[in-house]
């Protein structure tokens, strides 16, 4: 391979668009292309969420409520019904929908800024009510869309644009472990935390999401799946370093595993 082929000139636009080697797009995602950064974990999480809907044959009864974050781009890229909510407010909107359509399948997609910062009371109240909805938390520990500022889930020592020397508990306080908090609510039926930083974790994510959906369809009450996602741009690391950074920075604090299942409850 010559140097010409290795180093792509950015002085001029590329001669042709990037080629799609194979189309892995699940049926319920309308386009393979998304506008999120390379290495972002959110498309993987949303893919798992949509595949589980398809496999459980819920596509024709699903209403998905989106919060505001990078993942919001997917609100216009799905073949399930969508309600776009405000930052933090998706659990209440989902509640109104579920109460009027108790046989429907209602879920939210929110980030850590959305759910744990702006909307903490919403998700906890929904959990306490035992609201029969499923909330998905895409947790990357930063505000991705605004460019990498600290959220309430940012771990101690983690560098962000608003905790440049690393999150310092004396100045910035401690991270909130949302799933651990939600699991303490009597109304929560299923709470689990997973990640999408390697193949095993992706498979686990799909499994947990499926269980949460089944829990809602069984009328068990509130379900939450927290998914740790990569945000190399917001973390200021190379794209390929995202998975390891997640493993070293987020995963040791936000522990992966099922926190509450009908079995654990008993």
């Amino acid at each position: 391979m010559s140097n010409d082929q290795i180093f792509i000139s950015t002085d001029t636009p590329p001669a042709e668009p990037a080629a799609l080697v194979d189309d892995f797009t699940p049926t319920l995602i309308t386009q393979a292309n998304h506008h999120l950064c390379p290495g972002c974990g959110e498309p993987i999480a949303i893919r798992a969420a949509m595949e589980a809907i398809e496999e459980l044959e819920l596509a024709r009864s699903t209403i998905t409520v989106f919060g505001i974050g990078c993942y919001t781009a997917f609100a216009h890229n799905l073949d399930v019904e969508v309600v776009q909510a405000l930052h933090g407010r998706a659990p209440s909107v989902a509640t109104g929908i579920k109460r009027m359509l108790p046989d429907g399948f209602v879920m939210t997609v929110q980030g850590d800024g959305d759910m744990v910062n702006e909307g903490l009371q919403e998700v906890l109240h929904a959990a306490a009510r035992g609201e029969n909805i499923t909330c998905l938390l895409l947790n990357n520990g930063v505000f991705g869309e605004t460019g990498g500022q600290m959220t309430t889930t940012t771990t101690l020592g983690q560098r962000t644009k608003t905790s440049i020397e690393g999150r310092d508990p004396h100045q910035h306080g401690h991270p909130i472990l949302l799933s651990d908090l939600a699991a303490t609510m009597d109304g929560a039926a299923y709470v689990a935390r997973c990640a999408v930083n390697n193949a095993g974790n992706v498979a686990r994510t799909k499994r947990y999401i499926t269980k949460a959906y089944e829990s809602q369809m069984a009328g068990a009450g509130f379900s939450l799946v927290e998914i740790l996602t990569m945000c190399p741009t917001g973390w200021f690391v190379d794209t390929l370093e995202g998975p390891d950074y997640l493993q070293d920075t987020l995963a040791p604090v936000h522990n992966i595993g099922e926190l509450k299942t009908p079995l654990v409850q008993q």
Binding site: S61, G96, F105
Partner: protein, 356 residues
Amino acid sequence: MSDRALLEGSEAIARAAVAAGCRFFTGYPMTPFTKLLEYMAALLPEVDGVCMNAESELEAVGMAWGAATTGHLAATGSTGQGLSLMQESLSEITNARLPLVVFNMARGQGDYFQATRGGGHGDYRHIVLAPMDVPEAVELTRLAFELASQWRTPVMVLGDYYLAHTYQAVSVPSIEGAAPEVPDWALNGSSGGSGSAKIISPLGGGVEGEEGFDLGAHYAACAAHIQEMSAGVDPLVDIGFCDDAELVVAAYGSVGKFVRYACLRLRDAGHRVGYVRPITLWPFPSKAVHDAVAGAANVAVYEQNMGQMVEDVRLATLGAVPVEFIGGPSWDHSGFGIGPDINVPDISERILEAMT
């Protein structure tokens, strides 16, 4: 025995709402809104509806938003302060083109601007109806749901402590009737997997990268819709004795009823005074106000605040007639907006002063 009943304003409004087809209600207790929430909690289960005592006003308006997306008639409400918390959502719900009725049992009249200017962020307006008493509130509640459905917009019914807590004999609307049919745009999940699943968003619809997905175009459409409402919603106004009036007094809501009564009694005593009471506060009945005061020497505006609607009256009259503000804030220890100055002799005195 008549089919009429003596109902507290809050109960009359609750019955009218359910009779209009409202099937979802939610709110957070706050005087003088609380009673409406209590009556809805008692009534809605009778028609298989849902009433939720939300954990906060933020969550109440969110729940109502969600319920509205299902096409069932939904309502929420609060008091001015709680409405402040709801404004972010009300702005977005307006842009999401969702019907919603909002009952604002305000404290005094300090929230006219909040109600009529689009109290939240962004360049929006929604319809505002201001009944003067319980029978009119029953009628306007029905109209509010009708307009909300017709225009796919939030409609606010603006009342106060007097409206919420006065009992009046009214014809009891039957809550037994069937709710309106769910409209086509509503969500129920069934369009999923069709290749063109529905989306309801304050940011507009459409599939990313395809025609119809354009935030700029959506905001332009929202603006056009608001202008269409501004021109297309019938302005409602109550006008009395303006033909030969030297002075026309403008006022709205419960306070408008005090002013109206003062004008009626001043007329009995031979004073050439008329009144104009806007019922739709947005769109403001500018033409009717303009025409009503055309023959008068002066216009006086009475509000229980520092002067808010007076600006709309001035805009409606465009300098043709001098407009004087004769109201003012009036509070008692309760803070509920039932101040001591809101009485007929005091108001009559101010009207007579404005005539000289």
